[in-house]
Amino acid sequence: MSLLTAYPEIAASVPLLTEDLPAADFSDTPWWLSLIKSSMLFTYVMISVVLVIWFERRVIGQMQQRPGPNRIGPLGILQTAADGIKLFFKEDVTPKGADKLMFYAAPLIVASLAFVSFAIIPMGGDVEMFGHTTPLQLTDTPVAVLLVLAVAGVSAYGFVLAGWSSGSTYPLLGGLRSTAQVISYEIAMGLSLVAVFLYAGSMSTSQIVEAQQQSTVLGIPLWYVVPLFFSFVVYVITMIGETNRLPFDLAEGEGELGGGFHTEYSSMKFGMFFLGEYINMFTVSALATTLFMGGWHAPWPLNVVFDGALDQGWWGLLWFTLKMWSFIFFYVWVRGSLPRVRYDQFMALGWKILIPLSLVWVVAVMLIRSAQEGYFGDGRWVTVLTLGGIGVFVLAGILVWDRYAQRRLAAREEAREVPEEIDPFADGYPVPPMPGQRLVEPQPAVEQARPVTVPAGPTDGDDSTSPNDDDKERRG
């Protein structure tokens, strides 16, 4: 209860921004320098991907008490390179039912678009490069975050086209699942970002980083992970959903779809999906770092020691990389800990929990900020708490009602007539049940081992061995 009442105070402790935030300054960046920075960023991303594949396998290995790749290079660090070279020389199979053009276009879309979002991530302060002062950020626009969401939306085409063009059942299902998944979670993700924009008053990534640095309490920068903790949680959940990673990797679902949308892909075309997935992981982690964890700025107190020398220039790259990799570690940790969820549970989580809760949260943040702006005049907390209370009440009502409806549905299911029981081994070999039939529950071994009491007296009928006895013998 105390946390409940205290939280609005924390959220409201972030002071209002009174002046325009400084945005990244690209005025001294000629086009050729942008080109050089693009190639540097490209290298950074590629090295990260190569490292993360090895990192993931090692960490998961340790979590599962096995060494992981340890043969090629020290600690197996060259494993990814070996895998990549192998992929290049694998046979490139195109199934005969495939739509050739789209079959080739899909991996190209996924891989090339995956890079784009990284362009707007600020990775450090201003640095000297070839005689020009330029920020460690490829570019920034007033709608930079929108660019990330737009690119994520377009790369969903890659997955659905991959599934559709394969001309095969599992990929089609995987592609559809992937799209439904991405678009469902994109809404909750978008809603969680609204709160950040409400606080920062901007959609430019460098300005959002600056806003976090300036919203200080007792001199400590209050990164948005603190006042907007709920948004952060929603973002982290949705970023796992968006990138098709365990426990939400339903679009691939090896157990049920045999690989999902990339079932029919092989060689480097498959490699592109693989690569795209990992780059997307980095993109959403980098965005989380930028929006919630203070971006490239050093954590307190490192940002003030030595007159802030550790908080400018190339140092930013270090802090940024550390923060981003902590998200990557979280990804791996989650993958190592949680089993895959069921698809209907996954959709229910998105539509019935994350979206309504995010909506209420956005409204709450909106009201808190309104009260801070003085829109409600004096005695503002009364209004906010009342409205917030109403929101929680309505939401609880909806949740309770949904549970009630589910229970009613379950009751109706139960009341349905029981389908006819069949013995799968009746004809000597196992037969799956037809619709409207159900199998006899297999008897546990203990029960079977129990001594059978033979009734005294003659058995009626001449068949001494019923099919049931027969099959018990066979199974035992």
Partner: protein
Amino acid sequence: MDYHPYLPVVFFLFFGLLFAFGSVFGGALLGRTTYNRAKAEAYECGIQPTPQAHEGGRVPVKYYLTAMLFIVFDVEVLFLYPFAVAFDQVGLFSVLAMLLFLVVVSVPFVYEWSRGGLEWD
């Protein structure tokens, strides 16, 4: 030439495309190719492939429902963005207008929910 904010994005996309094209077509050229009729069939765990998946087959109507819901909510989120960015300039009137908008969008959402549109079976 003045700095254009989207030019580096184009550069970066260019690198991405270069890499993707190089890999996909390089892989196709380097890998050996042997024809095998079974290999060209659609993969379905060894059973005869279902024919209707060819050319995409028919997509269950459920997916369209999700897509429509997505459109509604994505537009809602997109309305929220400029409002959030300009929040300190728009005043109480806009806050109330946005609340009204959220309520109006929530009513059909509740309808959809209670009529089972969000059940995935």
